[in-house]
């Protein structure tokens, strides 16, 4: 029945056909749609979106109001690091029981907040509403107000029931919640050359690497939002003179609020790959218009590139000509990845995102090679179909995509929030190349049945030739 399938036996659902696009097809492409029921989307929910964005604020208390599952599945699974407080690594939940679902959970929420605040002494508290809470009608806002009054600690509701829109709506709810803190702190001592880094989550310490670049050239980083985040940084971030927005999907809303209310301009940047990192550093230097900043920026970029480019060249030799698929959160990241892969001599043949915006996709479509398939809000079967059709060598994605690649004998590189290896900045690019090469050039693939089968169909003088990495093993 459904035993072994060829790619053509996997059908794209009718209601999804306009979310699958091939460059050169001339077809329409649609995104920003709600996931179709039964499509097995890779997206999570609005709550997940909020949780991802606010989680790295390390000295805040995060409590999930709802039944236990929503809280427990994201207990300490993220790779965002904190240089101090570890409070955010706990999973606190009101863990609603049946009687609270029936009679309301406000009392339990209040008691939980009071006890936790008393015990852990957080700087603020975020209270996430999950689907059930949205339904049973708890007045989370009122409870937060009461507790704020009683404790003097800001308790901020995050209006993120999972069913409310998509993960993107959750980003928005998170931005709204974080914004409650903005403007409440002292902006003394903030330099005229100062920035906020928005959408940088300090996965594996990336924010620390990036922060150093700016500090080196004489630009103050007021806050990284939210990587290694602190409540007090958020309170005073409105004092910064420029916002650099990396993960635009999650943070555009906050940067817009900061622009509207405080007149802080924003620039979209990416710290992935040499080119984009350099561009991000120049963007800030250029913005402030001080030639000295620019000079130092150029010096820094030159130094870093000369330090890491030779290593990259080595990897490029080994990776050249390989075909990559990527499926990530937002399209801006996808865009960066396509360029980075290209700089390693690799070609992206399949690119997709969970929540890309139309604007992002336009850019993505532009830079991709003809024939590249672009998918929005895809699912495992579609991804498998195109991995097979395009005969991909490497897949870049998250935990949920990994088995698709591995089952088919395809290399894999983690590029999500759970990874433990920094991939941003100049140094990060080398880690990325190493990660990719370690998987793509592993000697094991020749044993994978699919690769073996292929080798048999296309006999070569050297049976392992189609798999061997140019330049040989490390």
């Amino acid at each position: 029945m459904n035993s072994v399938n060829t790619p053509s036996s996997i059908r794209v659902l009718d209601e999804r056909s306009d979310q699958v696009w091939t460059k050169g097809s001339g077809k329409e492409f649609v995104c920003d749609k709600k996931s179709a029921a039964g499509s097995v989307t890779q997206r999570a929910c609005a709550f997940c979106g909020s949780r991802v964005v606010l989680y790295p604020i390390a000295d805040a208390l995060h409590i999930v109001h709802g039944p236990i599952g929503c809280a427990v599945y994201n207990w300490d699974i993220r790779g965002s690091l904190s240089s101090g407080s570890q409070l955010n690594r706990n999973s606190f939940s009101t863990d609603l029981a049946e009687k609270e679902v029936i009679f309301g959970g406000e009392k339990k929420l209040k008691a939980s907040l009071l006890e936790l605040i008393n015990f852990y002494q957080p700087k603020a508290a975020f209270v996430y509403s999950t689907c059930i809470v949205g339904l049973i009608g708890d007045d989370v806002g009122a409870v937060c107000k009461q507790v704020t009054k009683e404790t003097g600690i800001d308790c901020i509701p995050v209006d993120s029931p999972g069913f409310k829109g998509t993960k993107k709506s959750g980003y928005q709810a998170a931005c709204e919640a974080a914004y409650k803190l903005v403007g409440t702190g002292d902006t003394n001592g903030i330099s005229k050359y100062s920035i906020n880094l928005l959408g940088e989550f300090n996965i594996a310490g990336e924010a620390w690497m990036i922060r150093k670049y700016y500090e080196k050239i004489g630009i103050q980083v007021v806050s990284t939002i939210t990587g290694d985040g602190r409540v007090d940084d958020l309170r005073r971030c409105h004092g910064a003179k420029l916002n650099l927005v990396q993960c635009s999907g999650s943070m555009t809303h906050l940067s817009k609020l900061l622009k509207d209310d405080y007149g802080i301009p924003m620039e979209r940047v990416s710290f992935f790959g040499f080119e984009d990192t350099a561009r991000a550093i120049y963007a800030a230097a250029e913005h402030f218009g001080d030639p000295e900043l620019m000079r130092r920026a150029e010096e820094l970029v030159r130094d870093e590139i000369s330090k890491y480019a030779p290593k990259l060249k080595e990897y490029k030799k080994r990776l050249k000509g390989k075909k990559a698929a990527l499926y990530v959160g937002g399209a801006f990241k996808a865009f960066s990845l396509v360029l980075a892969l290209r700089s390693l001599g690799m070609q992206t043949v399949l690119a997709g995102t969970q929540t890309g915006s139309a604007e992002d996709y336009e850019q993505l479509k532009e830079i991709c090679d003809p024939g590249t398939v672009i998918v929005d809000d895809s699912n495992p079967l579609e991804l498998a179909k195109f991995v097979l059709e395009k005969d991909v060598d490497l897949f870049i994605g998250g935990v949920k995509e990994r088995p698709i690649a591995f089952k088919l004998g395809v290399a894999f590189c983690d590029h999500n929030h759970e990874r433990k290896i920094p991939l941003a900045g100049f140094e990060g690019m080398v880690h990325f190349a190493e990660e990719v090469a370690n998987s793509a050039c592993s000697p094991i693939w020749k044993y994978a049945p699919r690769r073996q089968a292929k080798a048999l169909r296309l006999p070569e003088p050297e049976p392992t030739a189609p798999l061997a990495c140019e330049g040989g093993a490390a």
């Binding site: 029921a37 039964g38 097995v40 599952g69 706990n90």
Partner: protein, 469 residues
Amino acid sequence: MSMCKGNPDTLTTTGEHAEGPLPASATRNACKLCTPLGAAMVFKGIKGCLPFLHGSQGCATYIRRYMISHFREPVDIASSSFSEDDAIFGGARNFAQGVDNVIRQYEPEVIGVATTCLSETIGDNMLGMIKTYQDKHSGDGPPLVHVSTPAYTGTHSDGYYSAIRELLKAFVKPTRITQSRMVNILPAMMSCADLRHLREICALYELDATILPDYSSTLEGGSWDSYHKISPGGTAVEDIAEMATAIATLEIGHTQAVDKKSAGHWLETEHKVRCDSLGWPIGIRLSDQLFAAMATIADRPMPAQLADERGRLIDAYVDAHKYVSGKRAAIFGEPDMVVGLAAFMSEIGIRPVICATGAKVKNWKELLASEIEGGTADVEILSDSDHAKLAAAARELKPDIILGSSKGYPLAREMKIPLVRIGFPIHDRIGAQRMLSVGYRGTLELFDRVANALLEGRQDDSETGYSYL
């Protein structure tokens, strides 16, 4: 950067030790997962089955990700992807559309429908929806099984056992025939390797087993030459249909033994298939009980291979007893696994000083007392626990070793004691699926893991760093 000087559950934001009364209202670092996860795991053990969660999609995605990080296999779970309107007006439309799409994409042989908190709370009538759907399609298409799994009434173990029961109710056909070599096994939430071993044991007794569920291949399969929409393997619906013909059912788990509504008891009352209630077969005593039951059913003595394994296990106990004797263990996880592990620990001379589960278990104390050698006066018995409570108890009672899932790692690290990983989820190590722990052979492997973990700790802590024991 200096990071993490202790367990995040006891530190304030400035890194001080948190003081004052322990927060009691909130759950801090839960020691349980939610009910539909258990049901989804069972459905993954049915041939050609696609699990389907009725509710918003986040629950399904979270559960998928969690299962993938443990099993490292594709875990596709569909959802009816509720929007705000569906949450208010009911999810019938989404349900029908979702099932249509699942059938179009996956061509499943059966769809396992579990509810989520959301659909339970709005009171969606699942059975009605399923009937409407099937009537509309005049019975064509795959059967749909439904299990009710609100997370606010139980934990993943409950979801697991309920799904087994509902599968039986849906598919078992009444019969007058009894096949003398047929046995049913209703395992608890064991590893893939455990399930395979149970099948192997049955073969040794020349018994033909229907294991429900059997995710030993679906959640630990080979490398593929093409893509499988649904991972191959699992218990076939036709085999479930025949389960009333079996000579007996072996139902694993102390909580099931005392639950008159358990799947095994249901088969007994409704279809007259004798139910043998057994503990999770870890350790000699509980494994002996399993093999004794098998011998009776099969009317065969213990096969020589198993007798050999038993001999080797006892020999291993003897060889290493001094390294484990007098040690103290903290055990946490699914209730039935904790009982099995506690029995095993006490059997080898390790005191199970903390036995914790996140579930609210009736008679939890009695269940443990029935299996712990030497009484439970010195045992901290925690039901409805979370990891913060478990950690607080551990700080008092100072165990030498922890047995449980990866979620015990922060505590193990804080206390500088080993964590022997067992149960679900194990997402900081490779190979959770193929960790064998049941029967004599499994116990032997587990025993070695425990003894070596203790030895390794001692060696690492030694002044000289000896390399000879």
